[in-house]
C-alpha cells in the first residue's frame, strides 16, 4: 500500500477517477462502455506514438520529428497502396520500413555529431515535413483503398446497444494494447530494455559496463519512427483520408501525455503503464469537456492546468522527500560533555 502510494501512476489514476466522477455527475453518458471503447479507439493514434516517445525519453533523448515521420509514412504508404496495390499487412510493412529509416537517421545524426536531440529533430522535422509538402503539393487523399475501410471496421469484441446498434473494442485499440504489452515486456525483461534505462541514467556509466550507447540511441529513435509510422496508418484508418498537415503540430501534446505519465525529460525514468494513464487522462479531459458541453476552445486551457497540477504535485512530493535527512538525535547514554580532552 505504501509502495503503491509512492508511485506516480497512483496519483494520475486518482486524478482520472476524480475527473470521471465529476464528468459522470454532469453527464451520465460518460461512464458507459460505449464511450470507453470510443475513447480508446480515437486515442489509439496518440497512444501508439506515445510508446515511441516513452522510449526516447527514457534513453535521455527527445524527438520532435515523429509527427512528421508519421505523416510521411502514412502519405507514402497510401500512395504506394493506391499505385501498386497491396493489402493491410503490406501497408503496415511499408509504413514500418519508412518510419524505421527516418527514425534511424535521427538516431545516427544525434549520436554521430553529438548535436542535442531537440535541435536535430527540429531540423529533421522541418526537413521531412518540408519535403512532403513540396512533393505532395499539400494535396489530400480521400479515396483510400477499400481494405483500409474494411480493416478499420473490425471489432475484436462486439456488443449491442439497447437499440440494437453494434459497438465494441476496435482493432486499432487492440493493436495499441498489443504494442503496449510488447513494449512493457521489452523494457522490463530484456537486456536491450534495461540498456535504455542505463543510458538514460548515465551514458558514461553505461559505456563502462559494456552497453553500446550508440546502438541503444539508434534503436530508440528507430523504434520511435516505427511507432510513429504505425500511428500514421492508424490515423488513416480512423479518419479514412490522408492530409499532409493533419498530424504535425500534435507533437507537444503527445510528449506532454508521456511526461504526465511519469517519464522524465532528464531521462532514465518512465513506464508503459504510466504513459497509458497519461494518455488516458488527457483523453478523458477532452472527451469529458465535449460531454459537458464546454466549448472546445477551452480544451487547451484545461490541458495546461491538468499538466501543471499533475506534474507539479508529484515533483513537489519528490522535492519534499529530498529535503532534510533523518538523524537519530536521541542520545544513547546520558550526554557526556568533556572539556579539554584527557
Amino acid at each position: 500500500m505504501k509502495r503503491l502510494l509512492a508511485r506516480h501512476e497512483t496519483y494520475i489514476f486518482g486524478i482520472i477517477v476524480v475527473f470521471s466522477i465529476i464528468i459522470t455527475a454532469i453527464n451520465p453518458n460518460f461512464l458507459t462502455l460505449e464511450n470507453a471503447f470510443d475513447i480508446l479507439k480515437s486515442n489509439a493514434f496518440t497512444g501508439i506514438m506515445a510508446i515511441g516517445v516513452l522510449f526516447v525519453l527514457i534513453s535521455g533523448g527527445i524527438d520532435i520529428s515523429f509527427a512528421a515521420t508519421a505523416t510521411i509514412a502514412e502519405y507514402l504508404t497510401v500512395l504506394i497502396c493506391l499505385r501498386v496495390g497491396g493489402s493491410m499487412l503490406f501497408a503496415f510493412f511499408s509504413a514500418l520500413v519508412i518510419g524505421i529509416i527516418l527514425g534511424a537517421v535521427n538516431g545516427y545524426l544525434i549520436d554521430r555529431f553529438a548535436v542535442p536531440p531537440i535541435i536535430t529533430t527540429i531540423a529533421t522535422m522541418n526537413l521531412y515535413y518540408g519535403l512532403l509538402i513540396v512533393f505532395s503539393k499539400g494535396r489530400w487523399i480521400y479515396a483510400l483503398p477499400q481494405y483500409f475501410r474494411t480493416f478499420a471496421d473490425i471489432r475484436v469484441i462486439t456488443l449491442y446497444t439497447a437499440e440494437g446498434l453494434p459497438y465494441g473494442l476496435s482493432i486499432v485499440t487492440a493493436l495499441w494494447f498489443v504494442l503496449m504489452v510488447l513494449s512493457a515486456g521489452l523494457l522490463f525483461y530484456t537486456r536491450l530494455g534495461r540498456s535504455i534505462y542505463a543510458v538514460g541514467g548515465d551514458a558514461i556509466s553505461a559505456k563502462r559496463v559494456g552497453v553500446s550507447v550508440k546502438m541503444v540511441r539508434i534503436f530508440v529513435y528507430a523504434f520511435m519512427g516505427a511507432m510513429a509510422s504505425v500511428a500514421g496508418i492508424v490515423q488513416a484508418l480512423l479518419v479514412q483520408a490522408v492530409a499532409p498537415n493533419s498530424i504535425v503540430g500534435k507533437e507537444l501534446n503527445v510528449i506532454a501525455a508521456v511526461v504526465l505519465g511519469g517519464a522524465s525529460l532528464a531521462g532514465g525514468v518512465g513506464t508503459v503503464s504510466g504513459m497509458f494513464l497519461g494518455v488516458m487522462l488527457l483523453a478523458i479531459v477532452q472527451n469529458g469537456m465535449t460531454l459537458m458541453r464546454v466549448p472546445a476552445v477551452w480544451y487547451d486551457v484545461f490541458v495546461g492546468l491538468v499538466i501543471l497540477f499533475s506534474v507539479g504535485s508529484s515533483s513537489w512530493k519528490v522535492k519534499k522527500e529530498k529535503v532534510g535527512t533523518f538523524i537519530d538525535i536521541e542520545p544513547l547514554s546520558p550526554p557526556m560533555v568533556q572539556e579539554g580532552g584527557r
Binding site: 534495461r194 541514467g201 548515465d202 532534510g324 579539554g340
Partner: protein
Amino acid sequence: MVSGDSSITMQSSFLSMQQINKRYTGVQALFDVDFDIQAGEIHCLAGTNGSGKSTLIKIICGVERADAGATITIGDSVYTQLSRKDALQHGIQVIYQDLSLFPNLTVQENISIGDTMSGSKRFISWKQSRTIAIQAMEQIGIALPLDKKVAHLSMADQQLVAISRALTKDVRLLIMDEPTTALTKKEVDALLSVIKDLNKKGVATLFISHKLNELMTVANRITVLRDGKKIGCYQASDIDAKKLEYLMTGTTSSYTPYTLNKERAGTPVLCCTKLSKKDNFHDIDLTVYPGEIVGITGLLGSGRTELAHSLFGLNPPTSGTCTINGEPVALKSVQEAVSMGVACVPENRLSDGLVLDQSISKNIVMTILDNHLSSLGLLDDEGLHEKVLEYVEALQIKISSPSSAVKTLSGGNQQRVVLAKWIATNPTLFILDNPTVGIDVAAKSSIHSIIKALAEEGMAVLIISDEIAEVLYNCNRVLVMNRGRIIGEFDSSSTTENDIQAFIDFHAM
C-alpha cells in the same frame, strides 16, 4: 593487521607492464613507466594530482591506450595495447572515483548490471539479479534496501553499492580509485577485510588513495609516481607516512597547529543558543569569535553537515536562536546568510560548488556580480577580470587561462576556485565542509595555509571534517558531534588524534 609481504608468498605476476609512455597534446603524462602486480597482492599507487596515477590506471583497465613501444603482459597473453574488452576478459574491475552508478535504477539492478550486460543473454532474470545483489552485499557485510533507487541513497551508501558491484564478477584485479573518501571508519574496516579475503583467493587489488594512513595499513607494496615518472616500488613495511609524503612530493611538510593569537573577546561572529532542527540536530550551543578556526568532527550522519547547511540558510532550524556579528538572524535563506557575511564551501564541490562546464573566471566572480555593475546596470567586465587575476594570483591557482572550463582543473585547483569565489565576498564567517576531500597531500596543505591566513586576518572559520588530523592541526578548538548533538569539546593545543578518536569510538558504540 598484515603489513608488509612477509606473510604472503608471491606467486606469478598477474600483470606486468614495461615502457609505458603516454603523451597527450603537449603534455607527457607518463615517461617509461614499468609496473607490475602479483596475484593476491594489495598494491598501492601513490602520487599527487598530476603525477600520472589516473593515466596509468586508465591504461591498465583499457580505457586509454599506451603509446607505441609498450609491452603489457597479463598471464600468458602479451599486448602492445590493451582494450577495455581485453581488460574485462581478464577480470580487471574498476571502482571509479565518481562511482559510475545509475541514479535512476535500484540498488539491486546497479549491483547486478555487470552480469545483465555481459554474456549472450537477451532476457533478464530478476530472480538471478536479486541473488547476485544479495550475495555481493553479503561479501562486505551490508544489507541496503534492494528496491531503493540509488539516487535516494547517501553518498556513503552509494559508494558501498559501487564496491558491491565490482565484487560480482569473476574479478582477478580490483582497481579502486579513492574508494574510502565518504566511508566511516567502520565501513572502511569492513572493506579492508573484504580486500584481504579476496587476496587470499588470489585476487590482486590496486588501490589509489590520498589518505596516507589507510595505504600503510593494508598495502604489501607501494608504487610511487611523481610528474609522470616512476620514483620506485617499495615494500610497505619499509616505508612510513613521512617518507611516503617525501617520495610523492619531493619535500617534507610539517603540521603547525593553529593557535589563537588574540583572546576570544568582543562580539562573537557566530553565537547559536539551543539551535535545533527536527530530525537533524538538537540543542546546539556554538560561539565562534573572530580569528578562530573551530573544527567539527564526528561520524557521518552525526548532523554536522546539516548544521552547516542551517547556518548557511539552506536548512532552516526549527527552534533556538542565532546571531551573526551580534545581529539576530532567522537563517531562512541563503541570500540572508550571504548578506550577513556567511560563506559556505559545500562537501561536494563538483555538484554543489562549481559550474564545471563554465570558465574559471565565471565561477570565481559568480558571488560578486552585484558589486560590479556599471551605472547602466551592466557588468563591469574589466573590474571583474582584475578580480579574477587577483584571486588566481593570491590563491596560486594553476591555470592555463581564466577562460578555460573549471572541469579541466585538478581537484586541488578546483577547490581553490571554490574558495576564491567565497573569499571574494569578504565573509566574516567561513564554513568549510570537508574542504580537502579527494585532494592530494601537497594541495591539501596549501589549502590549509590559505584558511589559516584568512583566520589570522580576523575571519571566523568553521571546518567540518571526517579526518581528525585535519581539524586537530588546523583549528584552535575541535567539537565532536554525535547523533545531532555536540558531545565534546577539545582544545587542540593539548589534545592528540588518539584522544579524539577514542572519544568518538566510545560514543559511537
